[in-house]
């Protein structure tokens, strides 16, 4: 079974995956869609870390530490960020973090990544906006999206005919800059949201 869902809050995501497992769906893979495997309903402890790795060997070493201590790596790649672990040894520590600072640290790394994406995308949006056609100015003055010469001086039926004819093309022109601007704004919001989660997690002690 496949599911599409988006989480920024790791605790909520862990809870949802736990519920899915209790209903008989074991997480098999995530990224970006959740793939579940039907299985007998089972109490499953799933925890998520957020890390990127420079080298494949670093990633292997990381996974070994978890697997040696009773936590099976279910999903995640060297560059995926989200790393999913399932507790397979009942005698092991029942969390992948043993203090508040490290439990909150994953949100800090997530926020850094979102900020990094924003910084990467920002110059692209600035460059395209200074080039005129794909700019912020289209939101201030949407008329620039229409290329028909003398369109805005026309009136009556003559205006509406030309206006409606060009509107689909104008929307297409506007769309690409709207999308890039929307992506940029999303990264700002994602950065703020993950920083909020970081602060919240830093304060809550012992709350898993």
């Amino acid at each position: 079974m496949k599911k599409i869902k988006f989480f920024l809050n790791f605790q909520k995501e862990e809870k949802w995956l736990k519920q899915m497992a209790a209903q008989g769906y074991q997480l098999k893979k995530q990224g970006p869609i959740y793939t579940f495997e039907p299985a007998p309903p089972k109490q499953t402890n799933i925890k998520i870390d957020y890390r990127h790795f420079k080298k494949q060997q670093d990633f292997l070493n990381y996974r070994s530490i978890f697997e040696d201590s009773g936590w099976q790596h279910i999903s995640g790649t060297k560059n995926s960020g989200n790393q999913y672990f399932k507790q397979i040894d009942d005698n092991s520590y029942d969390d992948i973090f043993s203090d508040t600072t490290s439990r909150a640290g994953r949100y800090k790394r997530l926020a850094n990544m979102m900020l990094f994406m924003f910084v990467i995308i920002l110059p692209l949006v600035i460059i395209s906006s200074t080039k005129g056609t794909l700019g912020i100015d289209i939101f201030l003055n949407p008329r620039t999206l229409y290329y028909t010469p003398g369109l805005w001086e026309r009136s009556g039926l003559e205006f509406w005919q030309a206006f409606l004819f060009e509107t689909p093309f104008a929307l297409m022109r506007g769309l690409s800059s709207s999308i890039s601007l929307a992506i940029l704004i999303s990264y700002v919001l994602l950065t703020i949201k993950s920083l909020t989660l970081y602060r919240k997690a830093s304060k809550s002690s012992g709350n898993k």
Binding site: S64, I65, F66, F85, Y93, I96, F97
Partner: protein, 108 residues
């Protein structure tokens, strides 16, 4: 004398450095820390990994070549030995000064 800004070490860092005077890989390190601390410091995998990464960055420990491609072996560095010793002396002083003041009192 100016004190190193890494001092005092946290209990976790102190035990990790102490455990790594004998090179070993991640999981054994977790067990050794628990053993050395008399079961007081139990580290979960993610927390240990973060602590180790942090110590590598600070240069207090190094990763040394090993036969196991899947498991890195860590060892304390010279820099790490210095800081461990400095923290040991800090605590020795605390103990001796405490004993001197509270000597003979009901605290003993």
């Amino acid at each position: 004398m100016r004190r190193d800004k890494s001092l005092p070490l946290t209990e976790t860092v102190y035990y990790i450095l102490l455990a790594l005077t004998e090179p070993t890989h991640g999981y054994v390190l977790m067990q050794k820390v628990e053993e050395l601390s008399n079961g007081q410091v139990r580290l979960a995998a993610g927390t240990l990994y973060g602590a180790v990464e942090n110590l590598l960055k600070k240069g207090f420990i190094v990763s040394i070549p090993s036969d196991d491609a899947r498991r890195k072996v860590y060892a304390i560095s010279q820099e790490g030995e210095k800081i461990l010793h400095a923290d040991y002396q800090r605590m020795t002083h605390m103990l001796s000064v405490t004993e001197k003041i509270l000597n003979g009192s009901e605290f003993k």
